[in-house]
């Protein structure tokens, strides 16, 4: 079904670029974009900038996820900590990321670090919430079971809380994976000297619209790949949820 859907979209695009009468710098044909993409791959620009964005995205995703899980666990375990910190967390989330991206670029410089920070920031919230929900969803009876078996804190964490929270946590990671790409690109659009966001800026500046399209397609591919990787991870880790065997 997916190849048909993509083919259909390409056909519509081709027809639109042919008959809409829009100039090529607004709506280039798929063929033109394809040629530009091939050229960008051949001269190495696309690979270089995709790689730069990928590093920022992964950095942001890892930093955001790890810090959100640590803080989320603390919040899930302690109502006091939660009451104290939640106003700050909610307030920080009401600031649009695009609005503070320039600030982060000033603070952390025009290099990769600022993009990693922006990406981490945007990834942080959904993972945090899902960690809290996941840890709180651990059934009381299973906690009692672990207590009755004299499980240590570490055993309760590793054998009960982590696996029990995993489905919800992976749901958060799915959202986080796509958001991390957005975060990195926002940072690159504000100020950078590499990355796909930077490439978009360049293309726009010199009216090379086909290059903008190329960069956008690369971004979509990047986000979809990340998302699919999380789905694969989910399938592997949560195999117990659906074994597909009949009930006996």
């Amino acid at each position: 079904m997916i190849p048909i859907a993509i083919g259909f979209a390409l056909l519509l695009w081709e027809l639109a670029s042919r008959w809409s009468g829009l100039p090529a710098f607004i709506l280039p044909s798929p063929a033109a974009v394809f040629n530009r993409t091939v050229r960008a791959i051949q001269d190495g620009t696309l690979i270089r900038h995709t790689l730069a964005t990928l590093i920022e995205v992964l950095g942001g995703l890892i930093l955001g996820t790890v810090s959100a899980i640590i803080l989320g666990y603390g919040l899930a375990k302690s109502r006091t900590v939660e009451r104290f910190l939640s106003p700050y967390i909610v307030a920080s989330q009401s600031i649009p990321i695009v609005a503070i991206a320039p600030l982060l670029v000033i603070w952390f410089g025009p290099g990769r670090l600022s993009k990693i920070m922006i990406s981490a920031l945007i990834v942080f919230f959904p993972i945090l919430i899902n960690t809290i929900v996941g840890i709180r969803s651990v059934p009381d009876d299973l906690r009692d079971l672990m207590r009755s078996l004299l499980a240590t804190r570490w055993q309760i964490f590793s054998r009960l809380e982590v696996p029990a929270a995993m489905p919800v946590l992976l749901g958060g990671l799915k959202v986080g994976a796509t958001l991390s790409v957005i975060g990195a690109v926002v940072g690159e659009l504000v100020g950078a000297n590499e990355g796909l966001g930077f490439l978009i800026n360049i293309g726009r500046g010199v009216y090379d619209t086909t290059l903008v399209y190329t960069a956008v397609i690369a971004l979509v591919a990047l986000a979809m790949t990340l998302f699919s990787l999380v789905v694969l991870l989910e399938r592997h880790l949560l195999a117990w949820r659906d074994t597909g065997e009949p009930k006996l």
Binding site: D141, D144, L145
Partner: protein, 257 residues
């Protein structure tokens, strides 16, 4: 160490849950004792605090007053030597049947080979061969509860506390599981204390039945069941069985009205 014969004893246990108007009085100075290798059932109207009592006996819940004595010592927190079977099978859905059974051994740091040996014999005893690698979602209620009982027995506790273990099963499975429990008890020996709301189940299985009143629960009857073993489900049609059951039912009814 222990002047009397009991393995597990409750001395004047009371329990009050704090709430708005003075607290919810659940248990009212309950005393009972269970001897080694005895099978005791606790029966009472639903909501009378049977589960709370069992949780106190397991060391999972602190009584408001009174104490639990386990093999001569005051029980302050859970013990490995006290096994617990929950109302729902309470399995870890991400673990296979085999790995659920192994959990207590794993937590106690038992070596791999010994773990394998013990879990294998438990799986055999529970009639779970062929189900080892299944996840809980693929097990029926009865099978899941077998795994849960296997898990409670795998580290060979001195006493097994069962909280309405068959409560969520259908009537036929329930009867089968009762007979299975007797078989396991015979093979394994050990002390069983089971909460149930089924009077026939209690009379069929237990050496002694303890009847609790409505909340706040008191012990209103402590009845020996002199029916010789082995017992089978056909006993339920005998006169002796009927009169014992009637006695228990009468006591519950009197204390409800």
């Amino acid at each position: 160490m222990n002047p009397t014969q009991d393995l597990l004893r409750a001395d004047n246990i009371s329990l009050t849950f704090p709430n708005g108007n003075g607290g919810l009085h659940v248990l009212d100075s309950i005393s009972l004792e269970v001897s080694p290798d005895e099978f005791v059932c606790i029966v009472g109207p639903s909501g009378c605090g049977k589960t709370s009592l069992l949780r106190i006996l397991a060391g999972l819940l602190e009584p408001s007053s009174g104490q639990v004595v386990f093999s001569g010592e005051r029980l302050a927190r859970p013990q490995r030597r006290i096994g617990f079977v929950f109302q729902q099978a309470n399995l870890m859905p991400w673990r296979t049947a085999h790995n659920n059974i192994c959990l207590p051994l794993e937590l106690a740091g038992i070596a791999r080979e010994e773990k394998q040996d013990r879990s294998r014999s438990l799986i055999e005893l529970m009639g779970l061969q062929g189900f080892e690698e299944m996840y809980p979602r693929d097990l029926s209620g009865g099978m899941a509860q077998r795994v849960a009982i296997g898990r409670a027995l795998v580290h060979e506790p001195d006493v097994l506390l069962l909280d309405e273990p068959f409560g969520s099963l259908d009537a036929l499975t329930r009867e089968r599981m009762g007979e299975e429990l007797l078989r396991i008890w015979k093979a394994h020996r050990g002390t069983l204390l089971m909460v149930t709301h089924s009077i026939p189940e209690a009379v069929l299985l237990a050496d002694r039945v303890i009847v609790l009143s409505e909340r706040p629960a008191r012990v209103v009857l402590n009845l020996e069941i002199p029916i010789p073993r082995p017992r089978s489900i056909d006993l339920t049609y005998t006169e002796e069985f009927g009169s014992l059951a009637a006695q228990i039912r009468g006591e519950i009814r009197v204390n409800v009205d």
